[in-house]
Symmetry: C3
């Protein structure tokens, strides 16, 4: 929840697909699972028929969380009085009552659900139909890549997490040595493009990073291709190619569990000349160390925003994607749905800068 | 305290008698005891003369809680500067001061107190005189009944606790097996009557409940008489007669320690063909199990109301007493005192429904 | 922070010198230290050149606390992106940026700092220059006195702590036996004077206190001179002379870390006929006991103010300095700087009362 007085408020994009669980965590007929979007509690359950339902986690009768209830066939029953709801939120049973159970006032808000690539995606607005299916992780099913998944949580807004994940300048400081170094620098070019639903940054002339991860992936150096992307409402991608053999895509679906609490559903796909079995034990501890440093600095940032009662950012031109992400989120929070930008889409904004990395 | 923004606000009935302590917990001259009504702290103390006083738990001098002070004769002295107050709240001593201690501004708010049946009853409005004495527990002193007392606390509003205690439909679910079962059902009639100060529900045609408690009390079955009652500001009664031998009255005085925290002073009186000494060890653990289930569901209900910032109930006709209790509390919070309904009083509202139990 | 609704609000005197640290706690080049004034976080650091800087503890870039950063030469660098600030708050480096680092929007608020007598004094208003240097502890450097220092914290407003420290009537109750007794009393005179920047109370005719501290300092009795003083914004002094040999000055600089959290930087100077090495082990445990009792009663007072949502004091004429301190603080919070009252200054208010101690 926003502490009272924090300004500006976090933009809330309800009309969007968010990952709320992994499919494997919801077994048919098992106790329901609680999740949330911007602090709004949502209950997930898988009926005996195998289908997943997502309802507002509040029984319309007496406000008790439905996540404390039980699955009965394809229904979810409240623990208090046993009211039963189907996946569309209709009330199918009111025990003791003589007469019809279903009435408009007795319905629970129901969210569209789609399972895909092992994730349970939920459309955040129960009052609208999703205009397109959830996004796909493009390399997650590719047999030439090793793909690993992580669920992480950060005490920060979705915007702050997305900016951090796609930000180059902090890597030499916060992760000094692990990723980049704050020593001799190279001047490179960065091309920033914003489309209706996304912002993309391509880096040109970047040498192989000096840090450990890059040395392991590509000990002999090589030409580096590097792009960072944010796609509404919460997809982030960092894509590196080093030489012809190495390809790393660190993607994630960000879920705003609360205004200042973000769940990161990370999907990291790697193709490298090293045997796949060797990559994970080497790269994972370094990645976890980097993540822990980011999570701690973001937690401090959030605490500081709360202590001061406001978020006051000052940006320079090397803050490439952060301000664009905020613009996209703010616009989406206020307005209409944005169809995904197709392959030939023209950017609505483009700029090129020089920076020293 | 109401978290900011929770709506509607909990109705606060200040003009009423509430149990704040058991008489035995206040020894003459012993350290005072802190209690509260709707979050307003109240200090209770028993002077050397044996009389109990109830003052606002705040020294008018420097706001320090008087409950940290000491009893001196029939006065209560503040721990900080030793200001002394009598049971009427008058300031009887200001150490170091040359001159008169008592001044209107130096008085502490004093609440009318009455001890009865082992309870310390306090009238919640220090600015008015109570128009009638506190209510009595009708069977607590009856020698043919075994009476036991409990002090329990629940994280829920007085209204939610009263509704829960007098609600039939939840028993088959939340307490499935212990009390009623969600299996074969019987259609019975329920007559609801609301008077100026109370709401009463009589159940007609009810078979002996299937659960353990009823089987123990009445193994051979028998005609059941069952009535549930709420009396302003916080008395609840569940009265069962099964056959001619068995009589169970589970009564309680509810005290709103805070808007969302209620103390239950329960007085359970039983007359049964079983030896009294056998009833308590058998019935008590089952009663405690039922209470723990109710307390947990009410805590979840409260947490949900706070998470959503509002209490949004949807009722059906089998929610018999809950909506009437809320009406009585809301009216009493806004308006005038209500004299107790006498034996021949006419109900201001009456309805009969059928329900399946 | 003021809980919402507490009234009247605590007066905040920003234009004043406050102790935020001891000099010894800030080593050159060491990690910075976090402090606060009225809840506003401030970072202190000592550069490699030995000078201390005090900046708002928030990087203008992304709100991250600078107290998590590192000292680089005479600059403080943020841990996130490595922005560097000098002691005047100017931004001297933005890593990766091609071009000038310093811009008005990128500056951090900087507070004037002065080290004196081993304390780091900070002027609470970064937008103004201090019209005079910080106050001195008059006896702290005197070789005939034994001086000890303590850092203590209390959950109470600066006003409540200052009143408590300079209040005579509570000592016979809260510290009964340790300091004064609530038994046979003597009538004395107290002369109260308020100047533009201070309030002073002189006690005339006071016998040697009966408590342990006084007995140790002066076993044979003797004429007592006793004065209590408050000087804006947060200096308190209790000065006792007993006979010709014994002189005790218990002074402190109070720092409002938050509205309801005060740090006490105490400087106690004693001259006595006892060997200095004996005084400390005897007097210190008693002083700590007294302080613990005061801290607990002040914590309760604060909790009570928060529970009731307001501070409602009622004073008598033996509440000598408390109301004058509140008047000085309230005026200073609203208005202009007050130059220190010189030796020949005339009081703007004076009164004499009798009291029984």
């Amino acid at each position: 929840m926003n502490p009272p007085g924090t300004s500006p408020p976090v933009p809330r994009v309800w009309r969007g697909w968010y990952v709320l669980a992994e499919s494997a965590s919801l077994r048919a007929g098992a106790p329901p699972v609680r999740a949330s979007l911007y602090g709004r509690p949502i209950v997930l359950f898988r009926g005996a028929d195998g289908e997943v339902g997502a309802l507002e986690d509040r029984c319309p009768h007496r406000d008790v969380p439905l996540s404390r209830g039980h699955v009965r066939g394809s229904h979810l029953a409240c623990a208090y009085h046993g009211w039963e709801f189907d996946r569309a939120g209709a009330c199918q049973r009111v025990p003791c009552l003589v007469g019809e159970a279903d009435r408009p006032a007795r319905r629970a808000a129901a969210f569209p659900v789609q399972e895909q690539q092992g994730f349970v995606w939920v459309w955040g607005d129960p009052k609208s139909a999703p205009p397109q299916p959830p996004p796909r992780f493009p390399w997650a099913d590719d047999p030439s890549h090793l793909t690993v998944r992580y669920r992480l949580e950060v005490d920060a807004s979705l915007h702050a997490v997305a900016e951090n994940a796609l930000d180059v300048p902090h890597t030499g400081f916060l992760h000094g040595g692990l990723f980049r170094k704050d020593g001799a620098r190279n001047r490179i070019r960065a091309e920033l493009s914003r489309y209706a639903d996304r912002a993309v940054c391509d880096y040109i002339g970047e040498p192989r990073p000096e840090g450990l991860v890059a040395r392991i992936l590509s000990p002999s150096g090589g030409v580096v291709t590097h792009a960072d992307r944010f796609i509404l409402p919460g997809t982030i991608e960092v894509e590196y190619s080093i030489g012809t053999e190495n390809h790393l895509v660190s993607a994630a679906a960000l879920t705003p569990a609360a205004d200042w609490r973000t769940v990161v559903w990370a999907v990291v796909s790697v193709r490298t000349r090293l045997p796949a079995l060797l990559v994970k034990p080497i790269v994972q501890p370094i990645g976890m160390r980097i993540f822990a440093q980011d999570a701690e600095i973001l937690r401090l940032q959030t605490a500081s925003v709360h202590a001061h009662g406001q978020q006051r950012y000052v940006s320079t031109e090397v803050d490439l994607l952060g301000p664009q992400i905020l613009k996209l989120l703010t616009r989406a929070a206020e307005g209409e749905d944005t169809p995904p930008a197709g392959p030939g889409a023209q950017p609505e904004y483009r700029t090129t800068i020089e920076m020293d990395v």
